[in-house]
Symmetry: C2
Subunit: 429 residues, 2 copies
């Protein structure tokens, strides 16, 4: 198992009999999901995706990524929401949040079309100056404002720089299989296209072409990512809470919500977990935040944020619980140097690995926060590998579906996202 749920730091807040009491609800949610009888059942393509994905398209994704790696210095990924967060989260988790600042033999990767900021766009254009560029526009309809505007800007850039013919080789389109103006236009011009499946919502789409093309360009082993997700698909099917950590996570968050813990803080101890938390926020926030319900998803990176939100978590309003992503083997070591002057009095740590200190900080924080009245769920991830991350992605997707059904919402729609757009278009005339 790539993930192990440790519930002992929640045990003083949740009694054993509460698991038994909620088991029937978990079983019902499980059956609804697997029988595809629940709300939103048109959007369950993610459930068997790690087994059933389109192998021919997958091969084309890898070939396109290899080509992109060869012909450009800067790869611009245009998308918003689920067409942005998944790829960025995986790249930062497995490569680095400093990916673009590190020496490497893969292109820099920048995300555009995920805001309406002129300054951000100007900066991306200046970064592209004098460098070879490819783009991947990701939009099911092709009409979402943010990516559409960015696509206009970068298509113009490429056509000016390489001509229409040259630009054609550098533009990759991920969009609807058949419908939509973007698909029609791409086919007409001759861009290579990839598919946003009809039955996979944006926030569940990271393991489709939406996420996989940018991820592959970064040099991540997408095969291992898919194998990890498939392992989770096979492993996480027992409705029995005591045998299914994914369902146990879903159950625990609902138990805690029902006793007033209305905010969940996803905790990482490594900067590379930061963007994954943003992906997780969309997954859970957009799936459950409806009809006046849902846990508010927040996130921190410790120990950084122990020195900012730490005080609140320790001692503020008690409507919080934490879920800790604890990466057992980060793959990095750093020996703490000895200081003959011992200025800081830390020579008892000389020669120790920094990861050891980090794990003690984690242990110390767990004890402190449960003392402070904050239940903690620990998800121990085996290592920082593509396999384990694939497993975790599927783990969270399935936990989210089960949790949403237990909460009594449709976990697969997002009607509230339209409200600002409707107003914006009215204002724009």
């Amino acid at each position: 198992m790539a993930i192990r749920l440790i519930d002992k730091y929640a045990s003083s807040f949740v009694a054993e009999n509460e698991y038994a009491a909620i088991q029937p609800m978990v079983t019902t949610a499980h059956e609804m999901l697997h029988a595809k009888s629940g709300l939103g059942n048109d959007y369950l393509g993610w459930l068997d995706l790690p087994r059933d994905y389109d192998k021919a398209e997958y091969a084309r994704i890898k070939a396109a990524a290899a080509k992109i790696q060869k012909i450009c210095d800067v790869f611009i990924v245009i998308g918003i929401g689920g067409s942005y967060l998944g790829a960025r989260a995986v790249i930062e988790f497995l490569k680095s949040p400093l990916y673009n600042n590190l020496k490497k033999d893969t292109p820099d990767i920048y995300f555009s079309g995920c805001n309406i900021s002129a300054s951000h766009m100007q900066e991306l254009l200046s970064i592209c100056e004098g460098r070879d560029v490819c783009i991947n526009v990701i939009s099911k309809s092709g009409t979402t404002t943010e990516p559409a505007v960015a696509f206009r800007v970068f298509r113009e850039l490429l056509e000016k720089k390489y001509g229409k013919e040259g630009a054609r080789e550098r533009i990759f389109v991920t969009t609807d299989r058949a419908r939509g103006t973007l698909k029609g236009f791409a086919d007409q011009v001759g861009y290579e296209t990839f598919t946003v499946p009809d039955d996979v919502g944006g926030r569940f789409s990271v393991l489709t072409a939406v996420g996989l093309l940018p991820i592959a360009v970064s040099g991540v082993d997408t095969d291992a990512l898919m194998v990890g997700a498939e392992a989770a698909r096979v492993a996480l099917v027992d409705p029995d809470l005591s045998k299914n950590d994914c369902y146990k996570y879903a159950a625990l968050r609902n138990i805690l919500l029902r006793k007033g813990k209305t905010t969940e803080i996803l905790v990482g101890y490594e900067p590379f977990v930061g963007m994954l938390s943003e992906w997780w926020k969309q997954l859970f926030g957009e799936s459950e935040g409806k009809d006046g319900k849902g846990i508010f998803p927040a996130s921190v990176v410790f120990s950084t944020d122990l020195h900012s939100l730490g005080q609140y978590i320790q001692d503020g309003m008690r409507n919080l619980f934490e879920t800790v992503i604890s990466v057992k083997d980060t793959g990095a070591t750093l020996e703490i140097p000895h200081d003959p002057d011992n200025i800081d009095g830390l020579n008892f740590l000389s020669g120790k690995d920094l990861g050891y200190v980090n794990s003690m900080a984690q242990q110390g924080t767990l004890f402190a926060h449960i003392d402070g009245g904050v239940p903690n769920i620990v998800l121990e991830l085996k290592d920082r590998s593509a396999y384990s991350l694939g497993y975790m992605i599927y783990f969270f997707e399935k936990a989210c579906a089960i949790s949403g059904y237990m909460l009594g919402v449709n976990p697969f729609d997002q009607p509230g996202v339209e409200a600002y757009k409707k107003n914006m278009f009215a204002l724009l005339g």
Copy 2:
């Protein structure tokens, strides 16, 4: 005025008489603060800092920054919490979140000692390879684990690369005026030192040497920053709510908290606001999150997060309010290109400025979210200038003090931050 508070998007949630009802509490908090008669009154140095700051040290900061700009390619700033967030927030706000990726004539600036991550440290070391490096270690005591370990690593790097003599010219120490092992050691070796004032807590220290040295290295106009803060200091002294937007912000958040709005989301519409929100989270979370009280501080950057947390905000649990930082003039423009193919159907926007679309998105979102039951406070910032940001920093600091006194806490301590450290050291033996 660099900031204008617009309260009309909260008016359906807060009646006029509520302002009158809470005015006496505001007046009392104001008097406590200015008479220095409240809890934490040893830590009010920030209150008159924009007038009373040490001019001789300020001149040394500018000279040191000029030297650092000249002799290094990479400037490593070592600090955590208040010794990290302020400088980074200002640099990203006024320069860019992509500062290190843009062409410029100032050094790259990386932050270290703000976590216990071996992978992050390894990456910073690889970034320094073959480049000239200076460091600024910021720690009042010199014994906080995270910055102390980072200082060991980078001091070793510099001494190996430049020798002890050479390293001495490249190490800048911001620490206690007189006490502490770091101050003693720095004086002995001959590092240039700057002061963390005794009466200014970490989260209020951005306009001291703590923040100003890294900020000056980035090329920000620190004079304008201080002048803006001084303008706020002079302007924001009237206890009358109707004449003091800073106090009105403090009052509004307390009114909303008392009617169950327990989470405040700070909203930006530009990526450059993102780190400022992290600074704001520490300021308010650490000042108010104690004794089981306090508003939970969260943040989003729109329109990015309208496609992730947007659904929750629109339609989830109704314990939220939003505070929007609306930057009126961002200084950047970008004309939306015309597309003869009109693939996205957006040709009615051709030739329009992207900032105009962003402001309509903002307007549309405000209407949508108040329709959804989320009160919105708008803080309209005149522009993206150092002057306006200095004003805003002081505005938030003073609002935080007033708000904390109204809440009934000591806004200037952080007893909860010690809990994890105590446990960690016990575990480390």
